[in-house]
């Protein structure tokens, strides 16, 4: 251990706990990732499904709703995250009562996940064979049946894959949010590593993010494979 302390004095100096401790920042990154994924994911999923079913030739074709969904997704997606972060600060203030810290970051993070995930979900469930929809309709299936039993179920493996992609991209965004005071591993890497010339801190923070990303990717791959029964 002393050898490690000798090699990476700043890393050890930050300690495990406390305001700047490693466990604290890991916890903050996981906190932001989890809640932003949950809020943004649920709403993004709804948008993604909406984009497919309301589209021309969709199972609940509705031009007005489609255009609303499509425009919202396109516009929000076009705003770079770092700008969005600053841009919606007043909204964040109104919702969570503060503009800094991990909880405040949840607002822009979720907002950013929504269009990203919506487009991914749209692509994933569009890949479901139209013939399956038609067959289900010929059996008298309702719109909810078509959404849950056909679209979401048949695309489940593909949905897990795009969820993995979204999560990884979200982890990257939490690091960026860290730069403006949201805490987490990104904040540690920049505020204590980069800004204070403590390269050992930057290195360890990067490795921890990397481990998290690899873990998410591997879990996603395993789950996607386990869910798929279409090629055996």
């Amino acid at each position: 251990m002393s050898e490690f302390a000798h090699l990476m004095p700043n890393v050890v100096h930050l300690g495990w706990l406390g305001q700047n401790g490693w466990l604290t920042s890991i916890g903050q990154t996981l906190y932001m990732t989890f809640w932003a994924a949950l809020f943004g994911g649920v709403i993004g999923l709804i948008f993604g499904v909406g984009l497919v079913i309301f589209d021309k030739g969709g199972i609940a074709e509705n031009r007005v709703l489609f255009n609303i969904f499509d425009k919202i997704v396109s516009i929000v997606r076009a705003i770079p995250f770092i700008i969005l972060l600053a841009f919606i600060a007043p909204v964040t203030q109104a919702i969570v009562g503060t503009q800094i810290g991990p909880t405040a970051a949840l607002v822009p993070l979720s907002l950013c996940v929504i269009p990203f995930y919506a487009r991914q979900v749209q692509a994933a469930i569009s890949s479901v064979d139209k013939g399956k929809i038609e067959a289900a309709q010929s059996l008298g299936a309702t719109v909810p049946d078509l959404i849950f039993d056909v679209y979401l179920r048949e695309a489940s493996s593909e949905l897990i894959r795009v969820t993995t992609v979204t999560l990884i991209s979200l982890i990257g965004m939490t690091a960026m949010a860290g730069a403006i005071g949201a805490g987490g591993l990104g904040n540690t890497a920049i505020a204590y590593g980069y800004n204070q010339f403590s390269n050992d801190i930057t290195l360890v923070a990067t490795l921890l993010v990397l481990i998290l990303v690899v873990f998410v990717q591997l879990t996603g791959d395993v789950l996607a494979k386990a869910t798929s029964h279409s090629h055996r």
């Binding site: 067959a135 179920r153 048949e154 489940s156 055996r232």
Partner: protein, 360 residues
């Protein structure tokens, strides 16, 4: 007369494609009686699939009337549209099973869950649903595969699951949209036999769309021929096959090809040496097995007409053997006329091609 189950009247369907209006179905009417197997044939793009999708309103017609079992599901005449509600339509659809070329099973559900999916809105309890699904899988001979996923089954087996699923709600009608087109010959025969059996045992009315003439030959009672969105010919299977009226029908059932083959096989040199007036080519068609008399011998003995067989073929149309013979008849014109009259009286259908026509 059996009850009319499907009545499509003056159906038009048009699509907008990149600014152009494409008329997929033109003023087509189709009546199918209870217990029939009705084949709809034609080349790809003839509008067959579009027309039958109108039956369960998977395709809304641009105009026309759709009547199933005496109930109007859709009617649009002179700009006035009548259509049953979404909920009723869903219920009606459960009375019209449908199977597809690519089976369209849910790949993430097991075989039995696929069948149970069709019963999701039935009034039955869960146990009864499972029992019904098992009963149907037994009917198609796949109860031992109930926990398999579709991808683990062969194409023929998947189509049988699709049939079980289509029959889950005890429908009166089954629409088969190119259901055997993606299958190998053996599976095709199995599926067609199954359809025939269901037709007999359950009294199921079947509308069979296909471009495979072999399929309709095996099972259909009646057929309609479609081309560019129109029904150009229709009737009893044997009638249409033995007396095709339209060129396209002849092409589809292969008469055209056979004639070409016959002409090709003729010994041109030997023929050239003969007087044009003394021979002709004849296409003889006969149904049933009543024509087993030694025709050639009879024509030679009684009419002094020499018969040379170029080639022959026996087909089976729904169990009725239909024979085809291409022959040259040599002899004096009067004698040939008498011989042909004799053949016609004996129930043989004769189509004559004069020597000039053949040489040209």
């Amino acid at each position: 007369m059996a009850k009319q189950l499907i009545n499509l009247e003056n159906i038009n369907v048009s699509f907008d494609q990149a600014g152009n209006t494409v008329q997929a179905v033109k003023d087509a009417s189709l009546q199918v009686e209870q217990g029939e197997i009705y084949g709809v044939v034609g080349y790809s793009g003839a509008g067959k699939s579009t027309l039958v999708r109108v039956i369960n309103l998977l395709q809304l017609p641009t105009s026309g009337k759709v009547e199933i079992n005496g109930e109007v599901l859709f009617e649009k005449k002179d700009g006035v549209t009548k259509q049953i509600g979404t909920k009723e339509l869903r219920e009606k659809r459960r009375n019209i099973g449908m199977i597809f070329q690519h089976f369209n099973l849910l790949e993430e559900k097991t075989v039995i869950r696929n069948v149970e999916f069709a019963l999701k809105h039935s009034k039955k309890k869960e146990k009864e649903v499972t029992a019904q699904a098992l009963k149907l899988l037994k009917l198609v001979g796949l109860e031992d595969r109930k926990d398999f996923y579709p991808a683990q089954l062969s194409g023929g087996q998947q189509q049988r699951v699709a049939i079980a699923r289509a029959l889950a709600n005890d429908p009166d009608i089954l629409i088969s949209d190119e259901a055997t087109s993606a299958l190998d010959p053996k599976s095709t025969t199995q599926i067609l036999d199954l359809l025939k059996r269901l037709n007999k045992e359950l009294g199921l009315t079947i509308v069979l769309i296909t471009h495979q003439m072999e399929a309709v030959k095996q099972v259909a009672d009646k057929i309609a021929v479609m081309s560019s969105g129109e029904i150009i010919e229709r009737g009893e299977l044997v009638d249409v096959f033995t007396h095709p009226q339209k060129e396209l029908t002849k092409e589809l059932i292969g008469t055209q090809g056979e004639l070409k083959k016959a002409i090709h096989l003729l010994d041109k040199d030997a023929i050239q040496r003969l007087n044009h007036e003394e021979w002709e080519l004849a296409h003889l068609t006969y149904t049933g097995t009543n024509v087993v008399d030694p025709i050639a011998a009879k024509l030679y003995k009684d009419f002094d007409v020499e018969v040379s067989i170029i080639f022959g073929n026996v087909d089976e149309l729904r169990g009725t053997p239909v024979g085809t013979l291409f022959v040259t008849l040599k002899g004096a014109k009067d004698n040939r006329e008498k011989a042909i009259a004799y053949l016609k009286k004996a129930g043989v259908d004769v189509e004559e091609y004069s020597s000039r026509e053949v040489i040209a």
